[in-house]
Symmetry: C2
Subunit: 127 residues, 2 copies
DNA sequence: ACACTGTTTTGATAAACGTCAAATCAGCGA
DNA sequence: TCGCTGATTTGACGTTTATCAAAACAGTGT
C-alpha cells in the first residue's frame, strides 16, 4: 500500500511481519513446538552485550552498522563481539553482508516484532 | 529543549507498568544499565519449559495455577519444575502463594508488557 | 608479491545452566 | 502423634556458555 514516510512503526502493526501465527503467550498456552522454537530466540537476546549490539545495529543510521562501529561501545574483545554477532545472526535476528573490507549488519525487524507480539498483553487492538 | 518525548511509551495498558522508562530497542540504543537489567528477564524466559510454564500459568482459568496443574504437562521431574518456577519468580515474572497443601502461581503482566514494549516496534494504543 | 587493516575462527578455561535422585519442608487427616 | 501427599531444597553430574589469546581469513593498497 502506501509506502509513505512512516517510520519503522509499520512493520509489525500490519499482519505482514507477524504472520499472525501466534497468539500472545498469555492468551493461549504455548505448545511444545512453539516453545522450543521461541526459546532459542529469547536466548539470543538474553545477554547484555547482544541486547546492546542488536539495539545499536537497529538504531544505527541507515539501518545498518559496520562491525567497526560497534566494537568501540564495548569492553569485550573483537572476537567476543564477533561471537555474539554470530549468535544473533544464527537466531535470525540480524543479517550481514561484506562490502570490501567491512562487514555490515542490519536487524531483521520481523523476528523482533514476532517476539514482541508473543509477549504482548493483547494482540490487535481492533475494536 | 529536551521535553520532546516520543509518544510511544505507555503501551502497557495494565496501569501497573507505567514506568515509561524504555523506548523500544530499535528506536534508541540501550545503555549498559538497561541492557544488564533486561538480559536476566529475557534469560528467564529463554527456556522452553519456562516459556510453557509462564504461558500455562497466565492462561489458566482464574489467572492462577497450582503446581499440580502444571507438572502433568511436562516430561521433566517435579524438582525441575520447581526450579524453573523459582527462576521465573526471581525474575519477577510470576509470583506465588501457598494455600493449604497447594502453592498457586500467577503471572505478573506488567513485566511481560515491558519486555514486549522493549522489543516491539508497534504502538498498540489500547485505552 | 607484500604488508596492513578489519573480521572471523579455533582452542582453551572457568562459570553458569538443566536435570535428576534423595532428602527435606509444609499441611492435612486419621 | 503418625503417616500421607504436595512442593521445595540439596548435592551431584554432564552440557552449554562467555570470554580471551592466538591463528587464520578477506580485501585493499603499495
Amino acid at each position: 500500500m502506501s509506502k509513505q514516510v512512516l517510520p519503522i512503526v509499520d512493520l509489525a502493526g500490519t499482519g505482514q511481519a507477524g504472520q499472525a501465527c501466534c497468539a500472545p503467550l498469555v492468551c493461549e498456552p504455548l505448545n511444545v513446538a512453539e516453545a522450543e522454537e521461541l526459546a532459542p530466540l529469547f536466548k539470543a537476546i538474553a545477554d547484555p552485550v547482544r541486547l546492546r549490539l542488536l539495539s545499536l545495529i537497529a538504531c544505527h543510521e541507515g539501518g545498518e552498522a559496520c562491525v567497526c562501529d560497534l566494537t568501540g561501545a564495548f569492553e569485550v574483545t573483537g572476537p567476543t563481539i564477533s561471537h555474539h554477532l554470530k549468535v544473533l545472526r544464527q537466531a535470525g535476528l540480524i543479517d550481514c553482508e561484506r562490502r570490501g573490507t567491512w562487514v555490515y549488519y542490519w536487524a531483521n525487524p520481523g523476528v523482533l516484532a514476532r517476539l514482541s507480539a508473543i509477549l504482548g498483553p493483547r494482540v490487535t487492538a481492533t475494536t
